[in-house]
């Protein structure tokens, strides 16, 4: 999808300069780190196409794309947070909350259905960000708390989960959620657009650079005169907004505000980001990598379904094993070890 574009952005800052004593190894490593996930994705997809004839069909690929679109948006926000040296566990709950609020507000039209959830989710993100950046609490714990809080809010809004709000049949929301263009669903284009914008923001804006600096060395970033607290707060707002937006898009697709969504989604998003070569300690990573990670997760799940007859327990074992193979391969390809 957008890998081409973002890869271009990511490598744009390597013009041909006279190389000094250390030649391209480090650069090669950086390249492999960026594209290790892509390599694994291509290898995996090729293998799947050879093994299962229904894998490489247009319908199946479009299916993988649309299935991955919401996770891609959530993982995009997570990429910013993780590069900035944080973590956001609340995205699953915020995603679900966004969907429920969108469905609820859609009775008053499409605009409220977009604005209300964005406002609420943005507020949650702001709260996360402020508590983390100003009060200095650990992101893991703060966002774990808002995972609970957002889920509680969702249950409160839906009468303890008993009520499911439906998007009116004539709502414009449904057109966006369900429409297709060239056989590919609208959400895919929306996700792709957001990812390109995200990649540009990350690589080509001062804010993006500040996020890298923050994750690379927070103390140094502060001493270098970056507005650390503001940048940090912003990443959490961004993450929550994107998660909420993914929720809206999903509600538009499902046509209802489903209450049971998003459980464990944070782990999927984190896995996708890390598979994409982003360091969990922060300071390095890319949007294109995350996208590859998301698609890899989609392919793994698709392959398990292609095998077709596994019990749920075996499915878990297989997907855990796949996950492991993928990260190990990716790690070896990119050779970015923590030490040295």
């Amino acid at each position: 999808m957008t890998t081409g574009t973002t890869a271009h952005v990511a490598t744009a800052d390597t013009p041909q300069l006279p190389t000094s004593r250390v030649a391209g190894t480090e650069r090669l490593a950086a390249l492999a780190q960026r594209h290790g996930a892509l390599a694994v994705l291509l290898l995996g997809s090729a293998a799947a196409a050879l093994l299962f004839e229904s894998f490489a069909t247009a319908g199946n690929l479009a299916g993988i794309a649309i299935q991955s679109s919401t996770l891609a948006i959530v993982a995009l926000g997570m990429t910013f947070v993780i590069i900035g040296g944080g973590i956001d566990l609340s995205v699953g709950s915020v995603f679900a909350l966004g969907g429920v609020l969108a469905a609820w507000a859609s009775q008053w039209g499409a605009l409220p259905a977009v604005l209300l959830p964005l406002a609420v989710c943005g507020a949650i993100g702001l709260l996360n960000g402020l508590v983390i950046a100003r009060a200095g609490l650990a992101p893991f714990i703060v966002t774990l708390a808002s995972l609970l809080g957002a889920r509680g809010l969702l249950l409160a809004v839906t009468d303890e989960g008993a009520r499911t709000y439906l998007v009116p049949r004539d709502s414009a929301l449904l057109d966006v959620g369900r429409g297709t263009l060239f056989g590919v669903g609208w959400p895919v284009y929306v996700a792709a657009l957001l990812c390109v914008a995200g990649a540009v923001l990350l690589q080509r804006s001062r804010y993006g650079q500040a996020v890298f600096a923050l994750g690379g060395n927070e103390e140094a970033a502060a001493l270098m005169g970056l507005p650390v607290a503001r940048v940090k707060t912003l990443t959490y707002v961004l993450s929550a907004l994107l998660a909420g937006f993914a929720g809206i898009l999903n509600a538009a697709r499902l046509g209802s505000g489903v209450t049971i969504l998003g459980v464990g989604m944070e782990l999927d998003a984190i896995a996708a980001v890390v598979i994409g070569g982003t360091l969990l300690i922060g300071g390095a990573g890319s949007v294109s990598g995350t996208l590859c990670g998301v698609l890899l997760l989609g392919v793994i799940q698709n392959v398990i379904n292609q095998i077709g007859n596994l019990t749920s327990s075996i499915q878990s074992v297989v997907s855990g094993a796949f996950l492991l193979v993928v990260v190990v391969t990716q790690t070896y390809l990119s050779k970015v070890r923590r030490l040295r």
């Binding site: 229904s54 069909t57 319908g59 199946n60 299916g63 299935q67 919401t70 969702l154 249950l155 839906t158 303890e160 989960g161 008993a162 499911t164 439906l166 369900r178 999903n250 697709r253 499902l254 046509g255 209802s256 505000g257 489903v258 209450t259 049971i260 969504l261 459980v263 464990g264 989609g298 799940q301 698709n302 379904n305 292609q306 077709g308 007859n309 596994l310 019990t311 749920s312 327990s313 499915q315 878990s316």
Partner: protein
């Protein structure tokens, strides 16, 4: 599997029955209008024996209900000789269920049996099926969509009704008075909502003497049920009855009550829903008082419905099965039929 060579378990009880015992029986088939025929649905005629059938299971096969349900579908598919049965499991994630269904369609499934995870939210999957003119038969949980258009029909139990019947059973075993604690299922789940509403309504209507003192979620799991019960019993020692929305939580409550020095089934009456073997055995043992069945063996009925459908018969929009009720009088002889 590696360890399997030299294991030695404790001696097991009797193995679960595999026969036709405990088959589902149709209680009512409400023909919403005239029922749904092949033409009305707009599907192509098909010989099931030569077809690819997909089954989308909603939750992990990690509890008796889901194990029995999936097994029953697999067994019946084998019995009637379906060409290929695809089985997927959404692992309790709605988005995965949607993609599962889409994946199966991409693999050429021609008839789908879906155990929906949620009543709402499956529309994209249904649309994908409709676009390929693949009939979808939903089992065990009803979805909010247009029958005979978005999906073929619904086979299953009525959860509100189950809640009402549980209330009736509760009124019977308690004599209509007492203090009840409810162990709820997972929050946000339709089944939880229905089973709670049915129970609460019925109790209000029929037995004002039964006072509901606590409603806490045990997440359909035995250990959570036990933990919650332990907390409730110490703060409300005067609880006289427990309504558990599934058997696992009821069994957890039994353990909790026992270790609190109470005698479950006597001091504290217990009613639950599902009809698993362990729960029915507990009725025999006298620790649970009544269980409302929720029969998971959908295989035969589902495939028969499908065959009827392709044979041209009109299918009712709701095929409600008749769930049994286990009580002290019939538990022992029904044990073999429990799953």
């Amino acid at each position: 599997a590696v360890l399997a060579g030299c294991t030695r378990s404790e001696s097991e009880g009797t193995p679960a029955p595999a026969g036709s015992e405990g088959q589902q029986v149709v209680a009512s088939s409400t023909p919403g209008g005239a029922g749904c025929t092949l033409q009305q649905y707009g599907a192509a005629k098909l010989d099931l024996a030569d077809a690819v059938v997909g089954f989308s299971q909603s939750e992990k096969e990690a509890n008796p209900f889901r194990i029995a349900e999936t097994q029953s579908i697999r067994d019946e598919a084998a019995k009637i000789g379906v060409k290929k049965l695809l089985v997927t499991n959404a692992q309790s994630q709605l988005s995965k269920q949607i993609s599962d269904i889409q994946d199966m369609l991409a693999q050429g499934a021609q008839f789908l049996i879906v155990a929906p995870l949620n009543s709402d939210g499956l529309e994209p999957a249904l649309q994908a099926a409709a676009a390929k003119k693949v009939p979808v038969l939903t089992i065990d949980r009803k979805i909010n969509a247009a029958p005979c258009k978005d999906y073929l029909a619904f086979l299953g139990s009525n959860f509100v009704e189950q809640g009402r019947r549980a209330a009736d059973a509760m009124i019977k075993v308690t004599g209509g008075t007492g203090r009840v604690a409810i162990l709820l299922g997972s929050s946000g789940n339709n089944v939880t909502t229905d089973r709670t509403n049915g129970f609460v309504e019925q109790v209000k209507a029929k037995a004002p003497g039964l006072q509901i003192v606590a409603q806490q979620t045990g997440e359909f799991a035995r250990d959570k049920g036990q933990a919650v019960m332990e907390q409730l019993i110490s703060s409300n020692p005067d609880i006289t009855a427990v309504y558990a929305e599934n058997d696992e939580m009821a069994l957890g409550a039994v353990t909790a009550l026992r270790s609190a020095g109470k005698s479950p089934g006597k001091d504290v009456k217990i009613v639950s829903i599902d009809g698993t073997r362990n729960a029915v055995q507990a009725i025999v043992d006298g620790t649970i008082n009544a269980v409302i069945e929720s029969n998971p063996r959908f295989g035969p009925l589902a495939f028969k419905t499908a065959q009827d459908f392709y044979a041209g018969t009109a299918i009712g929009e709701n095929v409600i099965i008749s769930d049994r009720e286990y009580g002290s009088t019939n538990a022992r002889e029904s044990l073999a039929g429990a799953y």
